[in-house]
Protein backbone atom coordinates (compact mmCIF):
# COMPACT_ATOMS: atom_id res chain seq x y z
CA UNK A 1 0.00 0.00 0.00
CA UNK A 2 1.15 3.50 -0.80
CA UNK A 3 2.43 5.77 1.93
CA UNK A 4 -0.35 8.20 2.95
CA UNK A 5 2.22 10.93 3.70
CA UNK A 6 3.57 10.59 0.20
CA UNK A 7 0.09 10.68 -1.32
CA UNK A 8 -0.67 13.93 0.46
CA UNK A 9 2.81 15.29 -0.26
CA UNK A 10 3.65 16.04 3.37
CA UNK A 11 6.52 14.98 5.60
CA UNK A 12 6.13 12.42 8.38
CA UNK A 13 6.53 15.15 10.93
CA UNK A 14 3.91 17.44 9.36
CA UNK A 15 1.59 19.27 11.74
CA UNK A 16 -2.14 18.42 11.57
CA UNK A 17 -2.75 21.85 10.06
CA UNK A 18 -0.34 21.25 7.19
CA UNK A 19 -1.93 17.87 6.52
CA UNK A 20 -5.38 19.40 6.46
CA UNK A 21 -4.24 22.09 4.03
CA UNK A 22 -2.54 19.60 1.75
CA UNK A 23 -5.65 17.41 1.78
CA UNK A 24 -7.96 20.32 0.94
CA UNK A 25 -5.80 21.47 -1.94
CA UNK A 26 -5.58 17.98 -3.45
CA UNK A 27 -9.24 17.16 -2.83
CA UNK A 28 -10.34 20.35 -4.58
CA UNK A 29 -8.24 19.44 -7.60
CA UNK A 30 -9.56 15.91 -7.84
CA UNK A 31 -13.12 15.89 -6.47
CA UNK A 32 -15.06 13.45 -8.70
CA UNK A 33 -18.22 15.56 -8.75
CA UNK A 34 -16.18 18.45 -10.11
CA UNK A 35 -14.36 16.29 -12.66
CA UNK A 36 -17.06 14.21 -14.30
CA UNK A 37 -15.72 11.49 -16.52
CA UNK A 38 -12.14 11.91 -15.32
CA UNK A 39 -11.41 8.38 -14.08
CA UNK A 40 -7.86 9.28 -13.08
CA UNK A 41 -9.08 12.14 -10.88
CA UNK A 42 -11.63 9.84 -9.29
CA UNK A 43 -8.97 7.24 -8.47
CA UNK A 44 -6.67 9.94 -7.09
CA UNK A 45 -9.49 11.35 -4.99
CA UNK A 46 -10.14 7.94 -3.44
CA UNK A 47 -6.46 7.59 -2.63
CA UNK A 48 -6.32 11.08 -1.15
CA UNK A 49 -9.46 10.55 0.94
CA UNK A 50 -8.16 7.23 2.18
CA UNK A 51 -4.74 8.70 3.03
CA UNK A 52 -6.35 11.60 4.85
CA UNK A 53 -8.65 9.29 6.79
CA UNK A 54 -5.49 7.85 8.35
CA UNK A 55 -3.05 10.71 8.85
CA UNK A 56 -5.79 13.31 9.31
CA UNK A 57 -6.98 11.44 12.39
CA UNK A 58 -4.66 11.58 15.37
CA UNK A 59 -5.44 8.10 16.69
CA UNK A 60 -5.20 6.38 13.31
CA UNK A 61 -2.07 8.33 12.45
CA UNK A 62 -0.42 7.04 15.63
CA UNK A 63 -1.42 3.48 14.72
CA UNK A 64 0.00 3.90 11.24
CA UNK A 65 3.24 5.48 12.50
CA UNK A 66 3.61 2.61 14.95
CA UNK A 67 3.19 0.09 12.12
CA UNK A 68 -0.10 -1.22 13.52
CA UNK A 69 -2.03 -0.55 10.29
CA UNK A 70 -0.90 -0.28 6.71
CA UNK A 71 -1.41 2.60 4.27
CA UNK A 72 -4.68 1.19 3.09
CA UNK A 73 -5.95 1.41 6.64
CA UNK A 74 -7.56 -1.93 5.95
CA UNK A 75 -8.27 -2.80 9.56
CA UNK A 76 -10.22 0.25 10.43
CA UNK A 77 -10.91 2.21 7.35
CA UNK A 78 -13.67 1.59 4.91
CA UNK A 79 -15.02 4.38 2.79
CA UNK A 80 -18.78 3.99 2.86
CA UNK A 81 -20.28 3.87 -0.62
CA UNK A 82 -22.12 7.09 -1.27
CA UNK A 83 -24.46 8.14 -3.98
CA UNK A 84 -22.42 10.51 -6.05
CA UNK A 85 -24.09 13.69 -7.15
CA UNK A 86 -22.83 12.99 -10.64
CA UNK A 87 -25.10 9.95 -11.04
CA UNK A 88 -28.07 12.27 -10.77
CA UNK A 89 -26.65 15.23 -12.63
CA UNK A 90 -25.80 13.10 -15.62
CA UNK A 91 -28.55 10.56 -15.37
CA UNK A 92 -31.79 12.47 -15.25
CA UNK A 93 -33.24 14.02 -18.37
CA UNK A 94 -34.50 17.57 -17.86
CA UNK A 95 -32.46 17.86 -14.66
CA UNK A 96 -33.78 20.83 -12.72
CA UNK A 97 -30.38 22.24 -11.74
CA UNK A 98 -29.61 22.98 -15.39
CA UNK A 99 -31.91 25.86 -15.57
CA UNK A 100 -31.23 27.94 -12.54
CA UNK A 101 -28.14 29.94 -13.42
CA UNK A 102 -28.44 33.09 -15.48
CA UNK A 103 -31.99 31.89 -16.01
CA UNK A 104 -31.31 31.47 -19.69
CA UNK A 105 -32.20 27.79 -19.83
CA UNK A 106 -30.29 28.03 -23.06
CA UNK A 107 -26.63 27.51 -22.52
CA UNK A 108 -25.12 24.82 -24.56
CA UNK A 109 -28.21 22.69 -25.17
CA UNK A 110 -30.36 24.93 -27.24
CA UNK A 111 -27.58 26.87 -28.92
CA UNK A 112 -25.72 23.78 -29.95
CA UNK A 113 -28.74 21.86 -31.13
CA UNK A 114 -30.26 24.85 -32.84
CA UNK A 115 -27.11 25.26 -34.87
CA UNK A 116 -26.94 21.56 -35.53
CA UNK A 117 -30.44 21.17 -36.85
CA UNK A 118 -30.93 24.63 -38.29
CA UNK A 119 -33.61 25.61 -35.83
CA UNK A 120 -32.35 29.16 -35.92
CA UNK A 121 -31.29 30.16 -32.46
CA UNK A 122 -33.20 30.47 -29.26
CA UNK A 123 -36.77 31.55 -29.50
CA UNK A 124 -37.99 30.85 -26.04
CA UNK A 125 -35.89 31.30 -22.97
CA UNK A 126 -36.96 32.27 -19.51
CA UNK A 127 -35.79 35.60 -18.06
CA UNK A 128 -32.74 36.11 -15.86
CA UNK A 129 -32.90 36.52 -12.10
CA UNK A 130 -32.15 40.01 -10.84
CA UNK A 131 -30.46 40.82 -7.53
CA UNK A 132 -31.55 43.71 -5.32
CA UNK A 133 -30.60 44.98 -1.87
CA UNK A 134 -32.54 47.17 0.51
CA UNK A 135 -32.88 47.96 4.22
CA UNK A 136 -35.83 47.84 6.58
CA UNK A 137 -36.26 49.46 9.98
CA UNK A 138 -35.56 47.17 12.93
CA UNK A 139 -39.15 46.83 14.16
CA UNK A 140 -40.50 46.04 10.67
CA UNK A 141 -38.02 43.17 10.42
CA UNK A 142 -39.23 41.86 13.77
CA UNK A 143 -42.97 42.23 13.25
CA UNK A 144 -43.14 41.75 9.49
CA UNK A 145 -44.47 44.27 7.00
CA UNK A 146 -45.74 44.71 3.49
CA UNK A 147 -43.82 47.31 1.51
CA UNK A 148 -43.74 48.77 -1.92
CA UNK A 149 -40.14 49.60 -2.77
CA UNK A 150 -38.71 51.24 -5.86
CA UNK A 151 -35.31 49.72 -6.59
CA UNK A 152 -32.23 51.42 -8.03
CA UNK A 153 -33.10 50.31 -11.56
CA UNK A 154 -36.59 51.81 -11.26
CA UNK A 155 -38.33 48.48 -10.71
CA UNK A 156 -41.16 48.72 -8.14
CA UNK A 157 -41.57 45.62 -6.00
CA UNK A 158 -44.28 44.62 -3.54
CA UNK A 159 -42.25 43.02 -0.78
CA UNK A 160 -43.72 41.10 2.07
CA UNK A 161 -41.23 41.09 4.96
CA UNK A 162 -41.78 37.93 7.03
CA UNK A 163 -41.92 38.48 10.80
CA UNK A 164 -38.56 37.73 12.40
CA UNK A 165 -36.53 38.39 9.25
CA UNK A 166 -32.78 38.21 9.84
CA UNK A 167 -30.18 40.66 8.62
CA UNK A 168 -28.93 39.58 5.20
CA UNK A 169 -31.84 37.22 4.47
CA UNK A 170 -32.67 36.82 0.80
CA UNK A 171 -36.28 36.93 -0.38
CA UNK A 172 -37.15 35.35 -3.73
CA UNK A 173 -39.96 37.09 -5.58
CA UNK A 174 -41.12 34.72 -8.29
CA UNK A 175 -41.48 36.17 -11.74
CA UNK A 176 -40.16 39.63 -10.79
CA UNK A 177 -36.85 39.33 -12.63
CA UNK A 178 -36.14 39.80 -16.34
CA UNK A 179 -39.08 38.96 -18.58
CA UNK A 180 -38.85 35.70 -20.54
CA UNK A 181 -38.78 35.51 -24.31
CA UNK A 182 -41.32 33.85 -26.54
CA UNK A 183 -43.86 33.21 -23.80
CA UNK A 184 -41.38 31.71 -21.35
CA UNK A 185 -41.37 32.38 -17.64
CA UNK A 186 -39.85 35.54 -16.24
CA UNK A 187 -36.86 35.23 -13.88
CA UNK A 188 -37.04 35.95 -10.16
CA UNK A 189 -36.04 38.97 -8.11
CA UNK A 190 -33.63 38.01 -5.34
CA UNK A 191 -33.85 40.68 -2.68
CA UNK A 192 -31.22 40.76 0.05
CA UNK A 193 -32.72 42.56 3.02
CA UNK A 194 -30.62 44.38 5.60
CA UNK A 195 -31.98 45.28 9.01
CA UNK A 196 -31.24 48.78 10.29
CA UNK A 197 -29.93 49.03 13.84
CA UNK A 198 -32.31 50.33 16.53
CA UNK A 199 -31.27 52.91 19.15
CA UNK A 200 -32.81 50.95 22.03
CA UNK A 201 -33.07 47.31 20.89
CA UNK A 202 -30.46 44.73 20.06
CA UNK A 203 -31.31 41.30 18.68
CA UNK A 204 -29.63 38.08 19.82
CA UNK A 205 -31.18 35.02 18.23
CA UNK A 206 -34.86 35.40 18.94
CA UNK A 207 -34.36 37.54 22.06
CA UNK A 208 -34.40 41.32 22.14
CA UNK A 209 -32.09 43.09 24.59
CA UNK A 210 -32.65 46.58 25.98
CA UNK A 211 -31.57 48.76 28.87
CA UNK A 212 -34.19 50.40 31.11
CA UNK A 213 -33.25 53.27 33.45
CA UNK A 214 -34.79 53.17 36.96
CA UNK A 215 -34.50 55.48 39.95
CA UNK A 216 -32.69 54.49 43.11
CA UNK A 217 -36.07 54.24 44.87
CA UNK A 218 -37.60 52.04 42.12
CA UNK A 219 -34.64 49.68 42.27
CA UNK A 220 -34.63 49.41 46.06
CA UNK A 221 -38.33 49.53 46.78
CA UNK A 222 -39.65 47.77 43.69
CA UNK A 223 -42.02 49.36 41.17
CA UNK A 224 -43.97 48.88 37.99
CA UNK A 225 -42.28 50.82 35.20
CA UNK A 226 -43.38 51.28 31.58
CA UNK A 227 -41.05 49.55 29.08
CA UNK A 228 -40.95 49.80 25.32
CA UNK A 229 -41.04 46.45 23.49
CA UNK A 230 -41.04 45.66 19.78
CA UNK A 231 -44.80 45.18 20.06
CA UNK A 232 -45.66 48.27 22.12
CA UNK A 233 -45.47 49.46 25.73
CA UNK A 234 -45.80 47.00 28.61
CA UNK A 235 -45.53 47.34 32.36
CA UNK A 236 -42.44 45.72 33.90
CA UNK A 237 -42.52 44.65 37.56
CA UNK A 238 -39.15 45.61 39.05
CA UNK A 239 -38.72 43.51 42.20
CA UNK A 240 -37.51 45.00 45.47
CA UNK A 241 -33.74 45.12 45.95
CA UNK A 242 -32.95 45.16 42.26
CA UNK A 243 -29.60 46.53 41.19
CA UNK A 244 -27.91 48.08 38.17
CA UNK A 245 -27.25 45.19 35.79
CA UNK A 246 -30.17 43.09 37.06
CA UNK A 247 -31.65 41.29 34.04
CA UNK A 248 -35.41 40.74 33.82
CA UNK A 249 -37.19 38.68 31.18
CA UNK A 250 -40.40 39.69 29.46
CA UNK A 251 -41.55 36.30 28.18
CA UNK A 252 -42.78 36.14 24.62
CA UNK A 253 -41.99 39.79 23.92
CA UNK A 254 -39.07 39.01 21.61
CA UNK A 255 -38.94 37.95 17.96
CA UNK A 256 -41.94 35.94 16.75
CA UNK A 257 -41.03 32.53 15.28
CA UNK A 258 -42.62 29.21 14.38
CA UNK A 259 -41.27 27.61 17.54
CA UNK A 260 -42.72 30.34 19.79
CA UNK A 261 -41.64 33.94 20.27
CA UNK A 262 -38.35 34.85 21.97
CA UNK A 263 -38.16 37.05 25.07
CA UNK A 264 -37.19 40.61 25.73
CA UNK A 265 -34.30 40.75 28.18
CA UNK A 266 -34.26 44.01 30.10
CA UNK A 267 -31.12 45.17 31.92
CA UNK A 268 -31.81 47.67 34.70
CA UNK A 269 -29.66 50.75 35.06
CA UNK A 270 -29.96 52.83 38.21
CA UNK A 271 -29.87 56.51 37.38
CA UNK A 272 -29.39 59.19 40.04
CA UNK A 273 -31.26 62.48 39.75
CA UNK A 274 -29.60 64.96 37.38
CA UNK A 275 -28.69 67.27 40.26
CA UNK A 276 -28.62 65.37 43.59
CA UNK A 277 -29.35 67.81 46.44
CA UNK A 278 -27.69 68.01 49.85
CA UNK A 279 -30.45 66.00 51.52
CA UNK A 280 -29.90 62.96 49.28
CA UNK A 281 -26.14 63.19 49.50
CA UNK A 282 -26.15 63.56 53.28
CA UNK A 283 -28.53 60.69 53.93
CA UNK A 284 -26.71 58.26 51.62
CA UNK A 285 -23.25 59.20 52.89
CA UNK A 286 -24.39 58.90 56.53
CA UNK A 287 -26.00 55.52 55.81
CA UNK A 288 -22.85 54.28 54.11
CA UNK A 289 -20.64 55.37 57.00
CA UNK A 290 -22.69 53.04 59.21
CA UNK A 291 -22.92 50.22 56.63
CA UNK A 292 -19.72 50.26 54.59
CA UNK A 293 -19.53 47.93 51.55
CA UNK A 294 -17.05 47.43 48.72
CA UNK A 295 -18.70 46.95 45.29
CA UNK A 296 -15.25 46.41 43.73
CA UNK A 297 -14.57 43.33 45.78
CA UNK A 298 -14.88 40.23 43.62
CA UNK A 299 -17.31 37.80 45.26
CA UNK A 300 -15.56 34.65 46.45
CA UNK A 301 -12.06 36.08 45.80
Amino acid sequence: MADPYQILGVSRGAKPDEIRKAYRALAKKNHPDLHPGDKAAEARFKEIASAYSIVGDEAKRALFDGGKIDGGGAEIHQVPPRSSYRQHAEGEPGFKYDRQWSGSGGGIDEDLFAELFGRGGRTNSSGADVNYTFSVPFTEAINGAKKRVVMGDGKALEISIPAGLKDGQILRLRGQGQPGQGGSEAGDALVEVHVEPHPAFRREGNDIHSVVPVTLGEALGGANVPVETVSGMVSLAVPKRSNSGTKLRLRGRGVPSKSGAGDQVVTLEIVLPAAPDDELIRSVVEWEAKHPYDPRKVPGA
Binding site: D33, Y85, Y97, D98, I108, D109, R172
Partner: protein
Protein backbone atom coordinates in the same frame (compact mmCIF):
# COMPACT_ATOMS: atom_id res chain seq x y z
CA UNK B 1 -38.68 12.43 -0.82
CA UNK B 2 -37.81 13.61 2.65
CA UNK B 3 -38.61 16.75 4.63
CA UNK B 4 -36.35 19.50 5.87
CA UNK B 5 -35.82 18.21 9.42
CA UNK B 6 -35.16 14.66 8.19
CA UNK B 7 -32.54 16.00 5.80
CA UNK B 8 -30.83 18.01 8.55
CA UNK B 9 -30.80 14.91 10.76
CA UNK B 10 -29.45 12.75 7.92
CA UNK B 11 -26.44 14.85 6.97
CA UNK B 12 -23.94 15.31 9.75
CA UNK B 13 -22.55 18.87 9.62
CA UNK B 14 -25.74 20.41 8.23
CA UNK B 15 -27.93 22.72 10.30
CA UNK B 16 -31.31 24.21 9.45
CA UNK B 17 -29.96 27.73 9.13
CA UNK B 18 -27.27 26.82 6.59
CA UNK B 19 -29.78 24.79 4.59
CA UNK B 20 -32.21 27.73 4.51
CA UNK B 21 -29.45 30.04 3.30
CA UNK B 22 -28.47 27.63 0.53
CA UNK B 23 -32.09 27.42 -0.56
CA UNK B 24 -32.31 31.24 -0.51
CA UNK B 25 -29.18 31.44 -2.64
CA UNK B 26 -30.65 28.97 -5.12
CA UNK B 27 -28.01 26.30 -4.49
CA UNK B 28 -30.68 23.75 -3.61
CA UNK B 29 -34.11 23.66 -5.21
CA UNK B 30 -36.48 21.59 -3.07
CA UNK B 31 -40.04 20.87 -4.14
CA UNK B 32 -42.55 23.06 -2.38
CA UNK B 33 -45.61 21.34 -1.02
CA UNK B 34 -47.62 24.31 0.32
CA UNK B 35 -45.23 25.56 3.01
CA UNK B 36 -43.37 22.25 3.39
CA UNK B 37 -40.11 21.59 1.59
CA UNK B 38 -39.48 18.16 0.05
CA UNK B 39 -36.07 16.92 -1.05
CA UNK B 40 -35.64 14.14 -3.61
CA UNK B 41 -32.66 11.82 -3.86
CA UNK B 42 -30.77 14.16 -6.21
CA UNK B 43 -31.32 17.09 -3.80
CA UNK B 44 -29.94 14.97 -0.97
CA UNK B 45 -26.84 14.05 -3.00
CA UNK B 46 -26.41 17.71 -3.94
CA UNK B 47 -26.70 18.91 -0.33
CA UNK B 48 -24.16 16.26 0.67
CA UNK B 49 -21.81 17.51 -2.03
CA UNK B 50 -22.25 21.15 -0.98
CA UNK B 51 -21.54 20.16 2.64
CA UNK B 52 -18.34 18.46 1.54
CA UNK B 53 -17.21 21.46 -0.48
CA UNK B 54 -18.26 23.95 2.18
CA UNK B 55 -17.27 22.34 5.46
CA UNK B 56 -14.40 20.06 4.43
CA UNK B 57 -12.81 21.84 1.51
CA UNK B 58 -13.72 25.30 2.85
CA UNK B 59 -14.98 26.78 -0.38
CA UNK B 60 -16.48 30.09 0.67
CA UNK B 61 -19.96 31.30 -0.13
CA UNK B 62 -19.09 33.65 -3.00
CA UNK B 63 -16.81 31.12 -4.64
CA UNK B 64 -19.36 28.36 -4.13
CA UNK B 65 -21.92 30.14 -6.31
CA UNK B 66 -19.36 30.22 -9.11
CA UNK B 67 -18.35 26.59 -8.56
CA UNK B 68 -21.95 25.35 -8.58
CA UNK B 69 -22.86 27.44 -11.59
CA UNK B 70 -19.94 26.05 -13.60
CA UNK B 71 -20.62 22.54 -12.34
CA UNK B 72 -24.28 22.72 -13.41
CA UNK B 73 -23.31 24.04 -16.80
CA UNK B 74 -20.73 21.30 -17.20
CA UNK B 75 -23.28 18.60 -16.41
CA UNK B 76 -25.83 20.15 -18.73
CA UNK B 77 -23.21 20.19 -21.47
CA UNK B 78 -22.27 16.59 -20.80
CA UNK B 79 -25.88 15.49 -21.00
CA UNK B 80 -26.36 17.37 -24.24
CA UNK B 81 -23.27 15.71 -25.61
CA UNK B 82 -24.54 12.34 -24.39
CA UNK B 83 -27.84 12.85 -26.21
CA UNK B 84 -25.98 13.78 -29.36
CA UNK B 85 -23.70 10.77 -29.04
CA UNK B 86 -26.61 8.36 -28.75
CA UNK B 87 -28.28 9.97 -31.74
CA UNK B 88 -25.10 9.44 -33.74
CA UNK B 89 -24.80 5.88 -32.46
CA UNK B 90 -28.26 5.12 -33.85
CA UNK B 91 -27.21 6.07 -37.41
CA UNK B 92 -26.06 3.64 -40.10
CA UNK B 93 -22.37 2.90 -40.06
CA UNK B 94 -21.53 5.02 -43.10
CA UNK B 95 -23.09 8.10 -41.53
CA UNK B 96 -21.33 7.47 -38.22
CA UNK B 97 -17.97 7.18 -39.97
CA UNK B 98 -18.50 10.42 -41.89
CA UNK B 99 -19.46 12.25 -38.69
CA UNK B 100 -16.48 10.79 -36.82
CA UNK B 101 -14.12 11.90 -39.58
CA UNK B 102 -15.39 15.48 -39.51
CA UNK B 103 -15.34 15.62 -35.70
CA UNK B 104 -11.73 14.39 -35.66
CA UNK B 105 -10.77 16.95 -38.24
CA UNK B 106 -12.40 19.82 -36.32
CA UNK B 107 -10.97 18.81 -32.97
CA UNK B 108 -7.43 18.78 -34.33
CA UNK B 109 -7.67 22.27 -35.75
Amino acid sequence: MIGESELVALIEPLDAEALQRWIDLGWVLPHRDDEDLQFDIADVARVRLICELYYELRIEEDSMSVVLSLMDQLYAARRALGALASAVAAQPEGVRKRIAAVVDQNRNH
